[in-house]
């Protein structure tokens, strides 16, 4: 048994406050509370296994310290201190998302229902006033809402109003804004996403980055912007940008933002590779469908393997998962198109199961290495 000397001290409110003020977001507050719970459970194990010895006063002091932090964080950020609270929070998040979609739809339907009764001046005024007023509302709600649910809801309403304006106002004045409409929606999506810490708006903005960068390349080629999807390679620039941005600009103050960048970037990049293996005629490269398809299959294999390695070694599970998925899809497509017609069914499934076991073994080795790295043990 190891005697652990813990300095008993009175928990000063000032110290706790100092610690709590370092936490700036609800997500960080929730993370701190979760950390305390894990510590308390582990401490109980250590005490029951007699690894450490704490006096009753020491335990009481630690508990008081933790209770105070939890009280402070729940009061300030409305973080959840119980499992049922967390479940309810998840429900609130889902309701918030559905509410945002419904609010956006209600704005659209409201405008549509009464639209023809207004003259052009009124319509123009309403279209300009809708995003302005909803944005002002979102700013007010953001300043008063501790939980973030209502500010995100108001951000969704504002974004719906803005898109409505971008879609309806130019035709009302017989103007075609072209790709500028995508650019404006993307810029506004980013402002709302970072201002309101909204993942929904960030997803919209990231998709906007993909579309707008592809549109620019398409326009440079002399084609209209809206045919950007005719050549999936147009999306490379945007997808690469999404993958690189979290490395260049830290997203640690925004929960899950870095993950969303990598998720959408990786999914786009690997998705393009897979599409071009199946439909090589969509490629810019004009070396014949077989050559292009074969080249992209090699790209998927190497890209997928590199993605798994990066995902495991750099602790980026989203990249690892999507890379594994892309490899799985490629192998499945190839096997169904090539092996299945040539082999009896039992041999086909046998080969596939051997491949699955091999993949499992490789992933296990990578996982073990990552675990050892995390534990600080060198082989």
């Amino acid at each position: 048994m190891v005697d652990c000397e813990v300095v008993t001290r009175n928990v000063k409110i000032a110290n706790v406050d100092n610690h709590a003020t370092k936490i700036a977001t609800r997500e960080a507050a929730q993370g701190r509370i979760d950390q305390i719970e894990i510590f308390e459970r582990e401490l109980a194990h250590l005490r029951s296994d007699r690894v450490i010895h704490l006096t009753d006063s020491q335990v009481t002091a630690i508990e008081a310290y933790h209770r105070h932090i939890i009280h402070e964080l729940t009061a300030r950020y409305d973080a959840d201190a119980s499992e049922s609270g967390r479940r309810l929070s998840m429900s609130m998040r889902i309701v918030s998302l559905i509410g945002a979609l419904l609010l956006g739809s209600s704005v659209f339907v409201f405008f549509y229902h009464f639209w023809a009764a207004f003259n052009v001046a009124t319509q123009t005024f309403l279209l300009c006033a809708a995003p302005t007023s909803t944005y002002a509302l979102a700013l007010i709600v953001r300043a008063r809402d501790r939980t973030g649910y209502f500010s995100r809801l108001s951000a969704a309403l504002c974004f719906a109003s803005f898109i409505l304006t971008v879609v309806i106002l130019p035709p009302l004045w017989n103007i075609n804004l072209g790709s500028a409409s995508v650019l404006s929606c993307t810029a506004f999506g980013f402002i709302l996403a970072y201002g309101m810490r909204s993942r929904l708006q960030l997803c919209a903005a990231l998709i906007g980055v993909l579309i707008y960068s592809a549109a620019l390349i398409t326009i440079l080629g002399g084609a209209p912007w809206w045919v950007f999807a005719e050549r999936p390679e147009n999306l490379y620039l945007g997808a690469t940008m999404l993958l690189v941005i979290p490395s260049l600009i830290s997203q640690r103050h925004y929960a899950d933002f870095g993950t969303l960048y990598r998720l959408i970037g990786t999914a786009s990049l690997l998705g393009i590779f897979l599409i071009l293996t199946t439909w090589p005629s969509l490629s810019y490269f004009d070396y014949g469908p077989h050559a292009v398809s074969a080249a992209y299959k090699i790209v998927v294999l190497t890209g997928g393997a590199a993605g798994i390695y990066i995902g495991v070694t750099r602790q980026l599970p989203e990249i690892g998962f999507l890379s594994s998925l892309s490899l799985l899809i490629l192998i499945g497509l190839e096997a169904c198109g090539w092996l299945l017609p040539k082999l009896p069914a039992y041999q086909f499934f046998l080969i596939m199961s051997v491949l699955a076991i091999c993949a499992l073994y490789v992933l296990k080795v990578l996982r073990r290495r990552a675990t050892l790295d995390a534990a600080g043990i060198s082989q």
């Binding site: 023809a116 009764a117 944005y135 700013l139 803005f162 035709p171 103007i175």
Partner: protein, 277 residues
């Protein structure tokens, strides 16, 4: 209040302001000065909004331009199939003129300037083809449709600059120049490029104020609804500096417009010419 706290309101309101004022200024710029061209269209070239019965009053008033292309056999395409009908005037020569390389890949889209011809040669050819008693493809119903109902608005040419096209088509009352897109692919049988007019940059025109807000005293319904029932009207459509159209006026008319039938003469030119009549 420091700048860091103000970035969110400043950026957000700036984007909203840029979008709203930018659109309005672009619209005003398009309508300023002399119109690039002005066409007097009718219900044959402009489709009134349609909607489910009982909900039509709430349908935004948007007039759709009904344009066609001339096919290889000099017939006019259906307006609903115009973008999927091969345009006869998109030839190898035309592509060279547009500086499009000969090695075209399937589904290549090209932004360009297009010429809209209203009630001129292309339509006259379509009428004469449909109504010529000597033609084996003559059909009484098609003939009547071409004379009384079909759109007289054809996309007849493309060019790299507005000035070049306007020099070729100086008549601003019958030829409008608009931005648009052509789609190119190979005709695998003859190894020639196959061209389609994919779309115009703006294919809708918002109805003007009196039509939008006036109520028919007889039925209590909006005026455009009555126009749709009668379905005869004249609309003056102008194309501005940005080559985007707007509706100058719209008036109801008692009867339909009938296109004259001109039978082909001996020695009449065949094929297509890009010079106006």
């Amino acid at each position: 209040m420091n700048l860091q706290r103000l970035w969110l309101p400043i950026l957000g309101f700036t984007v909203i302001l840029v979008v709203c004022t930018g659109t309005l200024l672009a619209g005003i710029y398009n309508r300023s000065g002399t119109s690039e061209s002005t066409l007097r269209l009718s219900e044959r070239e402009l489709e009134l909004p349609t909607g489910e019965s009982g909900e039509q009053e709430n349908t935004p008033l948007t007039l759709h331009l009904l344009w066609r292309v001339e096919t290889v056999d000099q017939a006019g395409s259906a307006t609903t199939e115009a973008s999927s009908t091969r345009a006869a005037w998109i030839t190898q020569t035309k592509l060279a003129e547009l500086e499009i390389p000969s090695g075209i890949r399937p589904n290549t889209f090209v932004s360009t300037f297009l010429v809209l011809e209203f009630d001129r040669r292309a339509h006259a050819r379509a009428v004469s083809r449909a109504c010529n008693s000597a033609s084996p493809s003559r059909d009484a119903r098609t003939c009547e449709f071409e004379i009384k109902k079909s759109s007289r608005l054809y996309v007849v040419d493309a060019g790299r600059t507005v000035a070049e096209l306007r020099a070729r088509y100086p008549d601003r009352a019958h030829y409008a120049i608009v931005s648009g897109v052509i789609k190119l692919s190979h005709d695998l049988n003859v190894r020639e490029p196959e061209g389609y007019v994919s779309s115009l940059s703006l294919e809708t025109v918002q109805g003007v104020e009196p039509l939008r807000s006036a109520i028919d005293p007889a039925t209590g319904k909006m005026l455009w609804h009555r126009l749709q029932a009668g379905h005869f009207f004249d609309a003056v459509i102008s194309f501005g500096r940005r080559l985007e159209p707007w509706n100058l006026s719209i008036e109801a008319r008692e009867s339909e417009v009938i296109s004259p039938v001109e039978m082909p003469q001996e020695g009449r030119e065949r094929g297509f010419s890009f010079s106006p009549r």
